[in-house]
């Protein structure tokens, strides 16, 4: 190796070290910023949660405070989604896998939460089986909540949402959670579906933009979280009718993190 080649090699190694340090600092900053932003939001939500436990509140006050609590927690989730997306883009993300997670309980919790939503006419949960799996409980809860939340939010403007959530085994290796908002859902066009499947961050269906605000982060984040868990999300949709979202996951994940 000539002196020039040796110098170039050392220069390359030094630049690699610096780049690695920058990535580490970036990961730390993303984690710290998420933590610091969510802390006050969660404290405010917790304070409201204490008040709403009282049974002597005037009519309407409890519902109003619960609504405020729900919005604060939603904002906290948005902050988490934003930073998680950034971490996933930088390949700086790890799942925290836990054995024997009761998936049917996660589904029931979320169904109970959204059944109280005034925009929801009916929300049926049909868990055919009790399903326990090895996965990141919080992240799968985040995914299911995101999908059900979208079904409740993006509905035909003159109708209430009708949502069915099914949980069933496929075989010994995989199970499915299916969220179906037909026939009162917005549905997507073929163009929408293509854009969705291309994985563009911040993408939102045209019809959805006219109905409710959103960031477009949740859909892509959910897809990446499920894929990291060794599964996949499938969308079937008809414009003006609704969408069926199938979350297919393995009982035991071999993550690629």
């Amino acid at each position: 190796m000539t002196d020039g080649e040796e110098a170039a090699s050392e220069n390359y190694a030094e630049q690699s070290r610096q780049l690695e340090q920058l990535l580490i600092q970036r990961q730390k900053w993303l984690g710290d910023a998420s933590h610091e932003l969510r802390g006050p939001l969660n404290a405010a939500a917790m304070s409201l949660n204490v008040v709403t436990r009282r049974d002597d509140l005037p009519d309407g006050v409890q519902a109003t405070l619960r609504n405020a609590e729900r919005h604060l927690l939603h904002m906290s989730d948005l902050v988490r989604d934003m930073f998680d997306t950034a971490k996933l883009e930088n390949d700086a993300f790890e799942l925290s896998m836990t054995a024997d997670v009761a998936v049917h309980e996660i589904v029931e919790e979320i169904v109970e939460e959204f059944a109280a939503n005034p925009g929801v006419l009916s929300l049926r949960s049909i868990p055919d089986h009790t399903v326990t799996a090895t996965l990141d409980r919080d992240r799968i809860r985040q995914v299911v909540r995101n999908v059900v939340s979208n079904a409740a939010k993006y509905r035909q403007t003159d109708k209430q949402a009708t949502i069915a959530v099914l949980l069933h085994r496929i075989d010994d290796a995989y199970f499915e959670i299916v969220v179906d908002d037909t026939p009162n859902g917005l549905g997507m066009t073929k163009t929408d579906l293509e854009a969705l499947n291309s994985g563009q961050p911040f993408w939102r269906a045209e019809a959805a933009k006219a109905v409710a605000t959103g960031t477009g982060l949740g859909v892509q984040l959910s897809r990446k979280l499920v894929e990291r868990s060794g599964g996949e999300i499938l969308y079937e949709s008809e414009f003006g009718v609704g969408t069926t979202v199938t979350i297919r996951l393995p009982y035991t994940s071999e993550t690629d993190t």
Binding site: D32, R38, G39, V50, L95, T98, D138
Partner: protein, 125 residues
């Protein structure tokens, strides 16, 4: 002050809350008192004080933030708690992130009050 008391009743749990943010810790203690009115609640913003407390008291449950302020401070507390004889399942870690935590730790996402209340019920019943 609550010293070691093996005769404490089933409802008379001693709970330790640890978070370096005083404002959030106070809210957390108020919330805990609302969901567990019969429990004795100790709270501290100091990891050092928490380490002292777990050597002199028998806690039914410890709930700690993970980042105080540096990520991993909660992990130090977890390991000290296990060494002092507390069951792993009686320790709940709160975090805004799930990165790099051992599977054996019961982790609850900060802000997931339903999951936190469920985890507390599982530990104390």
């Amino acid at each position: 002050m609550f010293g070691r008391n093996k005769n404490r009743s089933k409802q008379d749990h001693l709970i330790l809350l640890v978070d370096d943010d005083k404002g959030q810790l106070d809210v957390f203690a108020t919330w805990m008192a609302a969901i567990r009115p019969n429990a004795h609640i100790r709270s501290t913003t100091s990891v050092e004080e928490a380490l002292n407390l777990i050597t002199t008291h028998t806690f039914s449950l410890i709930i700690s933030d993970y980042s105080m302020p540096h990520p991993g401070a909660g992990l130090d507390l977890f390991e000290a708690a296990i060494q002092s004889g507390i069951s792993k399942s009686n320790f709940i870690m709160l975090s805004g992130t799930t990165d790099n935590l051992p599977d054996e730790i019961r982790l609850v996402s900060k802000g997931d009050l339903v999951a936190l209340e469920t985890a507390i019920e599982q530990v104390l019943t």
